[in-house]
Symmetry: C2
Subunit: 197 residues, 2 copies
């Protein structure tokens, strides 16, 4: 019955592969078409522009990231909640490794191409950051929230740089570190606001 979209899917896969190892801007539609076994013009039948192709490639990650924020905002903020959310973040990055890497390593090329979605992307990240920072956060707490998100990204780079360490250990270590940084706010590190025992 449905081979419907079969070509479309193959295009998406090859596009992702080429985007990630040539960079979005440099990856050529001709080469994508070649790999799929069709011509450039045929590609344009399935996707009206290079940007549309990119959006199709990137959508799954965005959707899941959005779900995480929804989950976060619907729940409390006990240590267990924080742990669950952070874990979902890392898991999602690892599950969509290739696309996530595109965002991390190719943001300058990709974000302008995602112009229609950019407002939503920025807002989603801001909401996640704000949730992590907690209610009525100090400037320090907000900086820590940004730092924690950045820290989680290393789930991707760590796997690539240190090739003999298993994903599972990376995930555990990063979650631990992230919680450590966040917890610093609650358990009173120096100069947070004077003193809090």
């Amino acid at each position: 019955m449905d081979m419907v979209g079969a070509t479309r899917d193959r295009i998406r896969e090859h596009a992702l592969a080429l985007f990630t190892d040539r960079g979005y801007a440099t990856a050529s539609l001709r080469e994508i078409a070649d790999r799929v076994g069709i011509t450039k013009a045929s590609l344009y039948y399935h996707f009206p522009s290079k940007q549309d192709l990119l959006v199709a490639v990137v959508q799954p990650l965005l959707t899941q990231w959005h779900d995480i924020v929804t989950d976060a905002e619907a729940s409390g903020r006990t240590p267990a909640d924080v742990h669950r959310i952070l874990r979902r973040c890392v898991d999602t990055l690892l599950a969509h490794r290739a696309v996530a890497n595109l965002f991390l390593r190719d943001a300058a090329a990709i974000l302008p191409a995602l112009a229609p979605l950019i407002a939503d992307i920025v807002e989603t990240n801001a909401r996640l950051r704000d949730w992590l920072a907690g209610p009525a956060p100090s400037a320090v707490a907000r900086i820590r929230a940004v730092a924690v998100l950045e820290l989680l990204r290393s789930a991707l780079t760590a796997g690539a740089t240190l090739d003999d360490v298993p994903d599972e250990l990376v995930r555990r270590t990063l979650l631990e570190s992230a919680e450590l940084v966040l917890a610093a706010g609650r358990s009173g590190t120096p100069d947070q606001r004077g003193h809090a025992a």
Copy 2:
């Protein structure tokens, strides 16, 4: 006396500006030339290719980053040493904000263009990471080292995202967090070397 290299410098500046806000691949030599007030062909007199121009733009940061590693490897690894090195990292990122952002946000486009330098860049980062991880590091210690470097990057994003917080506070908070993560190895957090049972 010497206006020698004046045009060259102006080209470098405008190139950096355009690279950072269009992305390296999309930034056109024609537009750079326009801004400088010369023609594309004149540009080619000063820089034999777009890549050479990029290298010229990027060199100062690389040199300074290299110096940090040299400093690190020449010194001990007391908390004070670690603090000094981390501080130099953050300061360098902030001092070369624009170029550093190029590396962070445009890596996919830039690294291939820096092919001749790439071996050195990777090696420098690996040495910094290894120094941070300490002698005979466990897998966890190495992951933490990667995470800490990633965390310091947020000096750049934090400034951009949270616009009302001063650089100085960002710097202090990130250094604190970085040291916290590194120190976790020494002061014994749970399950450092995996679960036995």
